[in-house]
Assembly symmetry: C2
Homo-oligomer: 319 residues x 2
């Protein structure tokens, strides 16, 4: 930590020192240390959340903290890694509502999820920001040497599987923006507090994995491209909750393209399907087969009549 804000030491001591874990040296040094289990390798991922782009200024600080950690935890889940620690970087605009009270509630959200996911804060820094609040986490976990899940192993004939249900977060954002009448608060909750699928052990079962953050279609595109295959999805197989189905007529494209789900997207050889289903059942994780991997390129989604759906866009976009 360096180049501290005015009063940064007190600020860190008050809000973040109670979150510091083993190796963090109470956030009092230039950096931190971390050990790995014997035979393990480190898995890292990093995600930034920008006020106005990834969260709204009036989102509850408690859930902003949870989403920040959970988006990162979801990346580790997608790599089959057990989370251990995280680094936190915060850039705070002055003269706004990001004050003592805001950070007290933000730290409470971090603390709750540290407990839930058995992780601790290792270090980071705090700076000013000329305009938006910027929050960045680098999450650190471990996996047995060579056993990190990857995106590039999908083979023609594999099934395409997703955990949980889709579309709730995308609709939840619309509710938040005042653009969806009659949307349930559970949709907003899904947008604010995703459920990372930490704790599964899918190495040797699935052939490729990633998390769904940009939307099913776009993220299938990543697996297809990295694996050199094509993917066909079936609309009628997609898992949607009733509060999502209620908006299907008016918001079909938004629901199908989704985004922000933070569910796992996997491809699995037919020979391993039973193992995948048994493992997810054991861990109480809902699982649905939504498509197949084929030779070729690209991703197609077929409607109930097995006709390709033409979308006006492919997934979540920033600007």
């Amino acid at each position: 930590m360096r180049r501290q804000l005015m009063g940064e030491f007190d600020f860190i001591a008050r809000h973040f020192r109670p979150l510091a874990g083993r190796g963090a040296m109470e956030l009092r040094n230039d950096g931190a240390t971390m050990s790995l289990p014997e035979g393990g390798e480190l898995v890292l991922s990093s995600d930034t959340m920008v006020e106005g782009l990834h969260f709204l200024p009036d989102d509850p600080p408690y859930t902003v903290a949870q989403k920040l950690l959970r988006c990162n935890l979801s990346d580790l889940a997608a790599m089959g890694s057990r989370p251990q620690h995280y680094m936190l970087n915060v850039s705070v605009p002055s003269g706004r509502h990001y004050n003592e009270d805001w950070f007290t509630r933000f730290a409470a959200g971090l603390a709750a999820d540290q407990k839930q996911y058995d992780i601790s804060l290792l270090g980071g820094d705090t700076t000013g920001s000329p305009s938006p609040l910027m929050l960045n986490v680098t999450i650190l976990g471990s996996v047995r040497q060579g056993e990190a899940l990857r995106r590039d192993g999908a083979q023609p004939g594999d099934g395409v599987w997703v955990t949980g249900s889709l579309g709730r977060a995308a609709l939840g954002l619309q509710v938040r923006l005042g653009k969806l009448n009659g949307g349930k608060t559970s949709l907003v909750e899904a947008y604010r507090v995703p459920t990372p699928r930490i704790g599964l052990s899918l190495y040797g079962i699935v052939s490729a994995a990633m998390d769904i953050s940009d939307g099913l279609l776009q993220d299938c595109g990543h697996i297809a491209e990295e694996s050199g295959v094509g993917i066909t999805l079936f609309e009628e197989e997609l898992p949607f909750a009733p509060e999502v189905m209620a908006h299907m007529e008016t918001h079909r494209e938004m629901i199908l393209l989704g985004g922000d789900d933070y569910e796992l997207l996997m491809t699995c050889p037919v020979t391993q399907e039973a193992a995948l289903q048994a493992h997810c059942k054991e861990h109480d994780v809902p699982l649905t087969k939504v498509g197949t991997v084929r030779e070729g390129r690209g991703v197609a989604m077929l409607d109930k009549q097995r006709r390709p759906i033409n979308f006006s866009r492919t997934g979540w976009q920033h600007f």
Copy 2:
């Protein structure tokens, strides 16, 4: 990596994929992996640079990249760690001059320092930014288990030592801001491209270490506080280059308080002074004894008449 910018994949492929090292999986996965040497533990540090606060919009992108890496490398140096990899997070404002050309030169600066310090890019993310350009690096290195240098080991009677020379970066910033007439361009260079003191092996020799980023006085304060001691510095012992001495009459306080030096600040028992001097000489690192650790609290700087100097501030401040 998730929630990509429009065209982020191409952007990453063009600029950052060539920088990716072993474990980065060509930046194509949700995260990255990293192994540690046998018996090693991970050392991490993270620093954010914000446009307008830590660099100026018209600073050369090549040196912005170098400074970003070197500030982080300096944190590893302060912990006695060998650097291996880094994570890079970039938040880019749209409609500004941070375009293709800017990032080509930025990536060239990263590439040059990757070569110089034998490190490689491991992952990160790219987002938009409503206003300033934000650059964040988490640097990753290793150290033998338990041998990370810390700030809290200074003992009364130890000497206080610094590497290199001080004050050039602080004056360099003034030159950049048009507030220092007759300042040499070497001062600006020192501000833009610090020299992290990577490569020394000081475990068992020094009793405490950190890097000087906020200024000698303020950073001595950190060691004093963490170690529960007082520190006395002697103005006449401080190492200043001739181009700094030239401004001593007009800018004494700015020079003495400094900031942005990224030199090592160490305390060393008298019994280890010969070892410290021999080690630094072997590595061609200039070394100067500038003070002593005493019982008590706080930091005092004495002038040539051994009178305490009263400063109007203690060091570098953000706002």
